[in-house]
């Protein structure tokens, strides 16, 4: 009797333990407001080409100083949203991958060489690249996700990546920090070059 009862309990416990180890099935990923928000937040982070370019914008802004430190990160999301609109309405943008790769390559090179153009030139350059990034985000929105939440997610994520770049860029107040920033720029530029070569299909 005791033996039978303990077997039953053991079976129940085993079932409970197995149930406790269940993993998320992700059968309904990217659905609704929460899905859209998470999807939008993660989209720029999981794409290394996006991530490095976003950080480069903040980094370059910090290197250029006031008012570029805040004007560039304010310009980028607004123009990116306009690019996103083009993606949403399905307007094709030629050589989009090359444009995104070029953003990392060019912005990284600007930082590495400590190039200081006029503010309007810097803002125009950043805005131009933002169109490519926005188009990619807009065109790749998951169908089931809440579009507003997705938009808010990727705008917040982009802004936080700019902030990361700015935080790294604050090292500029120390001479060694200025060198570190330029090295970061060179690394971003090198990745940009790699993405560029990849977009031409020369490496996989």
């Amino acid at each position: 009797m005791i033996n039978t009862t303990s077997h039953s309990i053991a079976r129940l416990l085993l079932l409970l333990v197995l149930a406790g180890w269940s993993t998320v099935s992700l059968a309904h990923a990217e659905v609704g407001v929460a899905g859209g928000l998470v999807s939008g937040l993660l989209h720029p982070i999981f794409g290394l080409d996006h991530l490095l370019a976003m950080i480069a914008v903040g980094l370059w802004g910090a290197q250029l100083g006031m008012p570029a430190i805040y004007l560039l990160p304010i310009t980028f999301p607004v123009v990116m949203a306009m690019g996103g609109l083009l993606g949403v309405i399905g307007m094709p943008l030629p050589h989009i991958e090359i444009g995104i790769a070029l953003s990392g390559l060019a912005l990284g090179a600007m930082i590495a060489t400590n190039t200081r153009p006029a503010l309007w030139i810097a803002a125009t350059l950043v805005g131009l690249f933002a169109v490519f990034h926005g188009h990619a985000h807009g065109a790749e929105m998951p169908n089931a996700a809440n579009p507003l939440a997705y938009g808010i997610g990727f705008v917040i994520s982009t802004g936080l990546l700019h902030l990361t770049g700015i935080m790294i860029g604050l090292l500029i107040r120390w001479p060694i920090g200025a060198v570190v920033i330029r090295v970061c720029g060179a690394v971003i530029s090198a990745f940009g070059m790699f993405f560029m070569v990849s977009s031409f299909g020369l490496v996989s």
Partner: protein, 203 residues
């Protein structure tokens, strides 16, 4: 066999649950909570309301003091209009425009004529109230629902404007943070507007 009985009986009981009424959302002041939560849990309302709060604080304390009562009262009026004359979907385009206009005003951080600012506050408050009022309350109390939405508007605009004013006064980078947030809201509004124009609805 015993085990089966012990499992089947609880399972059978579980298949006949009764509503607990543990939360007042469906009883007594239910419509008040419903009205309170409707805008607070809807991105299309809460985001531009926060932008409006930031805009009000950036226009100066005199402007903010006028906005604090004007906005919730106009939202309440909008709810009554929405409930009485619901169905005009074209009015809701103003809610999309509110994202863009308020986000841009915060991002630009420029003073605008007081009457123009208050007119914008009034217009957007009524359009957002209208959207909140276009609901089916069944036999619920409209008064409680209106008070709920109005309270939500007051809470958001008061706390938001207070936080924004404190941030821009206490921290040297406070106004920059607000402008950056404004640009984010503007960007989100542009994307949202695009999706709506494409007929991909979502809030």
């Amino acid at each position: 066999m015993k085990l089966l009985r012990h499992l089947i009986l609880p399972l059978l009981v579980l298949t006949f649950p009764e509503v607990a009424h543990a939360h007042l959302i469906s009883t007594r002041f239910g419509e008040f909570y419903s009205g309170l939560l409707h805008p607070l849990t809807t991105l299309v309302h809460i985001v531009p309301w926060l932008a409006l709060a930031m805009f009000a604080s950036m226009q100066g304390k005199a402007f903010a003091r006028r906005t604090l009562p004007l906005f919730p009262l106009a939202v309440g009026l909008g709810v009554i209009l929405g409930y009485s004359l619901g169905g005009y979907q074209d009015v809701l385009i103003l809610n999309i425009i509110s994202f863009v206009v308020l986000g841009a005003l915060v991002a630009l951080s420029r003073p605008i004529p007081r009457y123009a600012g208050l007119a914008a506050v009034l217009l957007f408050a009524i359009s957002h109230g209208y959207a909140n009022g276009d609901v089916d309350l069944a036999h619920g109390s409209l008064t409680l629902y209106v008070v709920g939405v109005t309270s939500a508007a007051y809470i958001v605009v008061t706390l938001g404007a207070g936080a924004a004013a404190t941030l821009s006064e206490k921290a040297t980078w406070g106004r920059i943070v607000l402008r950056a947030l404004g640009s984010w809201i503007l960007a989100s509004g542009l994307i949202y507007g695009g999706f709506e124009l494409m007929g991909i609805s979502g809030a």
